[in-house]
């Protein structure tokens, strides 16, 4: 099957003073390239933790305990899938913001209040397109010195070009070293014998400690006047940021770029957050409730923007929301989560027409309808405390169809058909008969 990213039996815990919060209870999701995938559930059900685990940015006191996250990207190294939980931190840094990126809820707190918008957007280019930026700066300088006949200015330009080239060399050296390590890692990826595991360990260790810049470059960047050549890189980044903001249809980008986050409106801040995520043309965009805390008109604009981007720039979107309306509007396939479990996965149409899991049914029933006369249906009970989650199926205390087995055993995923699966004992029992 064609896949983009999949998680297998993912367990993530948070170690708090109250106890261990078992936030993810064996989450298995699978996303195909090119689709818009929805993840829906009430607050605290583990939607955000799932996607943060996928990017390995679960912050302390959280920790991914076990499971697999396989990443399949279009470049040749990733085609057979790489378990990113086994890779080094620097590998993850090269993936984050580059092939997978993320936009967050509450744009106002997601932007650093003391840095200019241009710097914050530009950082993506610094991390992932440094080589291109340096090349662009060199090209610009060469172009300029060809045009001008000012000897002194050209002399300084020549020095700058030399320095930029030394930086470029060091980046290339670093890339080569890393590529070598990655190649070897890929070769022994599936080997599980002791020697390979030790080798993998040491390779990952050395990958983290590869120095991108040699000592000389470090010094040349620090010396005042001499480091003026860095301005060329800064300008190249600025041009790219401007271009990106213009492409995204953000009005007056040259003004916005020098502003601070607090000077922008909420909708504009969310657009900037999207711009940061899209800077390096990721293959997968994860949108973590991008429209909560925005008013309805801005919500619609942001949703339209993401839908447009889906058509033009990014192939796959993983959309997290608690709003079923948004899911119906933008997604192709949906997974419903409850208390760290994936209850049901189906195409949007199937899910709304033919919900199988009792929780999904309850969820869909509790959506208010216009023609509705009687009282709004709700799911009885409250969301469990995940420090002491219910045994077996975590939904059983609130489930109207709960059986004896539900209290004791966690249900397996049961495939109703190719596109529809649910994890509920109601269906696995039917199969038995």
């Amino acid at each position: 099957m064609d896949k983009l990213i999949e998680t297998k039996e993912l367990y993530t815990n948070f170690y708090t003073y109250e106890g261990t919060v078992r936030a993810l209870n064996g989450v298995s999701l699978s996303m195909k390239p090119g689709e818009t995938y929805g993840l829906v559930g009430e607050s605290g059900c583990g939607k955000s933790v799932s996607v943060r685990s996928m990017m390995r940015i679960v912050q302390s006191p959280g920790k991914i305990e076990s499971g697999q996250i396989n990443l399949f990207m279009s470049d040749k190294d990733h085609q057979k899938g790489i378990d990113i939980l086994k890779r080094s931190e620097t590998y993850m840094q090269s993936v984050r913001g580059n092939s997978i990126s993320m936009i967050f809820q509450e744009a106002s707190s997601s932007l650093n209040p003391v840095l200019k918008i241009g710097d914050q957007v530009g950082e993506s280019f610094v991390f992932h397109r440094h080589e291109e930026m340096v090349k662009e700066a060199i090209d610009r300088l060469l172009e300029k010195s060809e045009k001008s006949s000012n000897g002194l200015a050209n002399f300084f330009r020549n020095i700058s070009v030399k320095l930029l080239q030394s930086e470029l060399n060091s980046i290339e050296k670093y890339d080569l070293k890393v590529a070598e390590i990655d190649k070897e890692l890929l070769e022994i990826e599936d080997n599980e014998d002791e020697a390979s595991i030790a080798r993998k360990h040491s390779l990952n260790f050395w990958r983290d400690r590869c120095q991108e810049y040699n000592f000389l470059i470090k010094i040349q960047r620090k010396i005042p006047i001499l480091n003026a050549y860095q301005r060329g890189i800064g300008k190249a980044i600025r041009r790219n940021v401007l271009q990106l903001l213009t492409e995204l249809g953000i009005p007056n980008p040259s003004n916005i770029i020098d502003r601070y986050p607090h000077e922008l409106s909420g909708g504009m801040q969310q657009r900037i957050v999207i711009a940061i995520a899209l800077a390096c043309h990721p293959e997968l965009l994860i949108a973590d409730e991008p429209t909560s805390n925005l008013d309805v008109t801005i919500q619609a604009q942001i949703l339209d923007m993401i839908k447009d981007l889906k058509k033009t720039k990014i192939s796959s979107v993983l959309f997290i929301t608690h709003d079923l309306g948004v899911i119906a509007e933008v997604c192709d396939r949906v997974s419903v989560m409850y208390a760290g479990d994936v209850c049901e996965t189906a195409t949007v149409k199937d899910l709304f027409k033919n919900p199988q899991h009792p929780y999904t049914k309850g969820l869909l029933n509790s959506v208010p309808k216009v023609e509705q006369g009687e009282k709004l249906a709700t799911i009885p009970g409250v969301v469990p405390n995940l420090v002491t989650p219910p045994s077996g199926c975590r939904f059983h205390p609130r489930c109207p169809y709960a059986m004896e087995i539900c209290k004791n055993e966690k249900p397996e995923i049961f495939e109703l058909n190719d596109e529809h699966s649910t994890s509920c004992h109601l269906y696995s029992q039917k199969e038995d008969k």
Partner: protein, 344 residues
């Protein structure tokens, strides 16, 4: 132009504050009976009871308070702060003699205190619950709860008492003669810098040698608070959403700490650091007394004991001026670090 406008306004406000300080200082002095206040005008002469009354009459110490206040302010504007008995010189001359000694210590220990506090604090926050964090926390508890005089005495006992290193004072005897000799020009009053400017590196080294213990004392005691504040502020900043955004962008740990977390964490630390620098000047009383450095702290301690009112009044006025100025500097740094704060 915003900054210039702001500066002018703040400086005008400073004049008003200092005016208020003069009133407070003067009121405190006026609580003393005229007979004691006469001492201000005595330059350590012996006087009998009759002359005493005559002096009180002569200097108008029985006049209504506002009249006396006006007279005092007038003399202050002339630059005449009276005669300091403890310094055995006019107050202004005494200040010129004592201030560089204090300034030298403040200039050395101040930046060190801030640097140690900030670096240790952020290292502790980044490595939370690891050995360096435990060390920093113990260091801060110890530093914050030790009395200044006790630590000072212990340091002197260990280093000077047992090992004969770092003797108290500001210069060794042999170099004191050099310092006061004809050929030695005093440019700044700061011994280390004067030594270098006179091309007497041995003098500079000796003066620096005498600075070591008081500096260690001050750094241990004062950086504790900054470290503690920096740690908690850094922890808060590391837990913010924008750190997650930076992570998701692919930032390395180094970039996150240096570029995203630390600058935000510095905002509350700057305030405390500013107040601490001003407090350092005022808090020299004990440090300078213990290490027998003739600075304004020790001067003030002696002046208080001997009721040297002109010296006390001048120093209180001076220190409040320092406080106000440092606060102004802090506000400007504040606005530089945090763009959300406008200087208005």
């Amino acid at each position: 132009m915003g900054l210039l406008n702001y500066l002018i306004r703040r400086l005008l406000l400073m004049v008003v504050i200092l005016f208020g300080v003069t009133i407070v200082v003067f009121s405190i002095m006026m609580m003393l009976p005229p007979g004691q206040r006469v001492a201000i005008y005595l330059q350590d002469e012996r006087v009998n009871a009759e002359q005493f009354e005559a002096l009180i009459e002569k200097y108008g110490l029985n006049d209504p308070a506002p009249v006396q206040y006006a007279r005092w302010v007038k003399s202050v504007f002339k630059g005449d702060f009276g005669f300091s008995v403890t310094a055995q010189a006019p107050v202004v001359d005494g200040f010129k003699q004592y201030f560089p000694v204090t300034l030298e210590l403040v200039l050395l220990s101040g930046p060190l205190i801030i640097l140690v506090g900030i670096l240790l604090g952020s290292a502790a926050a980044v490595n939370k619950d690891k050995p360096i964090d435990h060390f920093a926390r113990i260091f801060s508890i110890v530093g914050y709860s030790l009395p200044t005089f006790w630590l000072g005495l212990i340091l002197l006992m260990i280093f000077y008492g047992y090992f004969g290193l770092f003797e108290p004072g500001i210069l060794s005897n042999e170099y004191r003669d050099v310092f006061f000799s004809e050929g030695f020009k005093s440019f700044t009053g700061l011994l280390v810098i004067d030594g270098i400017l006179n091309n007497r590196w041995d003098v500079a080294a000796d003066a620096f040698w005498h600075l070591v213990l008081p500096t260690i004392n001050l750094v241990i005691l004062s950086s504790a608070l900054i470290m503690r504040l920096m740690r908690s502020s850094m922890l808060e900043s590391l837990g913010q959403d924008y750190i997650r955004t930076a992570l998701a962008k692919g930032a390395s740990k180094k970039v996150i700490i240096a570029k995203h977390a630390r600058r935000n964490a510095l905002i509350p630390v700057v305030t405390i650091s500013g107040l601490m620098m001003a407090g350092l000047m005022a808090g020299m009383v004990i440090t300078e007394t213990i290490f027998s450095r003739p600075g304004i702290g020790r001067w003030m301690a002696q002046a208080s004991l001997r009721l040297d009112i002109p010296a006390i009044m001048f120093n209180v006025l001076f220190l409040s001026g320092v406080y106000v100025l440092i606060n102004l500097v802090v506000d400007i740094i504040y606005a530089y670090i945090d763009p959300r704060i406008r200087l208005a």
